[in-house]
Amino acid sequence: MKTKLMLLLMGAGLILASCTKYPPSSDRLLEDLAVITQYDTKADFNSYKTYSLAPSITKVTDKDTTVMTGPTADAVLAQIDKDMQARGFVKVATTAKPDLGIEVVYYQNTTVYTYYYDYWGWYYPYYPYYPVYYSSYTTGLANIELIDLKTATTDRAYIRWNAYIRGLLTGSHTTAEITAKVDQAFIQTPQLVTTAK
């Protein structure tokens, strides 16, 4: 009897040991796109009217930094324009002293560990450069930044809104899916709107 009891307990122990509290990793949605936004809660977006958008997407890999081109990059920039204008902002040339500057940086195969202060250090070449420090990532990440150029000085500028879209441009998502996520970044920030004349 003791043997049977021991066998039962051992069997139970084996099953117990084989079970994990976490669901299978295949169920854990690691490759799905996520949209993360943060806006400056102290910013008054009605005080801004005009913006300029960097004409290309900066691509940062763990090897080099290049300019990203192609239909997906164009579609992302066009979607940003569409959303900004739908919220009352007016696009102007960089030389027209816009209130806001937008740039998109795409990190591929790098793990981005961002730590930043609410100011930055220098211009590149016409646009403020966001001081993101990073290490290797396994998935892609696009960072859309909305920078306050009205208050920018030669040594600092404030980020009023940024959006991270993770998994973006990895090749496993269509352009339509990606632009929908760009749109989602604006949808989930209803505060980003202006009525300024």
Binding site: P23, L30, T41, Q188
Partner: protein
């Protein structure tokens, strides 16, 4: 899922009842104790459904009962259970920080209940022995919200009460082995405060099907 649960309940109770009528034979011995090992399916109820609404077959239960006076038995139960659900494209906000996150997310609760149990067996020495029981104890629970590789979680201990109805079905007059079918309702003081959801006094139904080792 609820319908399946109730249909199963009726079928099992009917089968137990029929077997009790057709096989009134007694065991060839008087049990002094028994140990159970059962597969456990959980059906979340009430506030718990706001967190995870799916039934989950991911669970098992280990128990022991010792007859102390006639059909009256006392013992313990230790379990392992997980309930989980995927939510598509949901937005989570942290208004005071201006943060919003939209993503598919995976919510799950992992729990390890441990209870002292008292049960009364109506036909202790029969081939089919229905019982009523009450478990009193606690749970260790972890409530997890998974978004991509991020794991946001909280752990909580609680107090719990579990009334249970079930039956032992012996495999033979002199066999030390039998089957177990039981249902219980569990009420806990546990709560979830994650993902803009507050669920208090978590409740669930459990269906247990398993094996019994009967000790003379």
């Amino acid at each position: 899922m609820r319908k399946i649960f109730f249909i199963l309940s009726i079928l099992v109770l009917s089968a137990v009842s029929l077997q009790a009528q057709n096989e009134p034979a007694s065991l060839g011995f008087t049990p002094s104790s028994y140990y159970t090992f059962s597969w456990n399916t959980t059906f979340t109820m009430g506030d718990f459904n706001k967190w995870v609404g799916n039934a989950s077959p991911a669970g098992f239960d280990l128990g022991g009962r010792y007859f102390i006076n006639g059909g009256l038995a006392a013992g313990f139960n230790i379990s392992w259970q997980r309930v989980s659900q995927i939510y598509q494209n949901e937005t989570y906000t942290i208004p005071d920080k201006g943060i919003a996150i939209t993503a598919d997310n995976y919510r799950f609760t992992w729990m390890v209940p441990f209870q002292g149990v008292i049960a009364y067996h109506f036909m202790q020495d029969k081939m089919v022995s229905p019982y009523l029981g009450l478990g009193i104890g606690g749970d260790y629970m972890e409530h997890h919200l998974l978004i991509q590789e991020y794991d946001i979680y909280k752990t909580r201990w609680d107090f719990s009460l579990t009334p249970e109805v079930g039956a032992l079905i012996k495999f033979g007059n002199f066999s030390s082995w039998g089957g177990l079918v039981a249902f219980n309702y569990k009420w806990t003081t546990n709560k979830i405060e994650l993902y803009q959801t507050t669920s208090k006094n978590l409740q669930m139904l459990n269906l247990k099907v398993g094996l019994v080792l009967i000790v003379r």
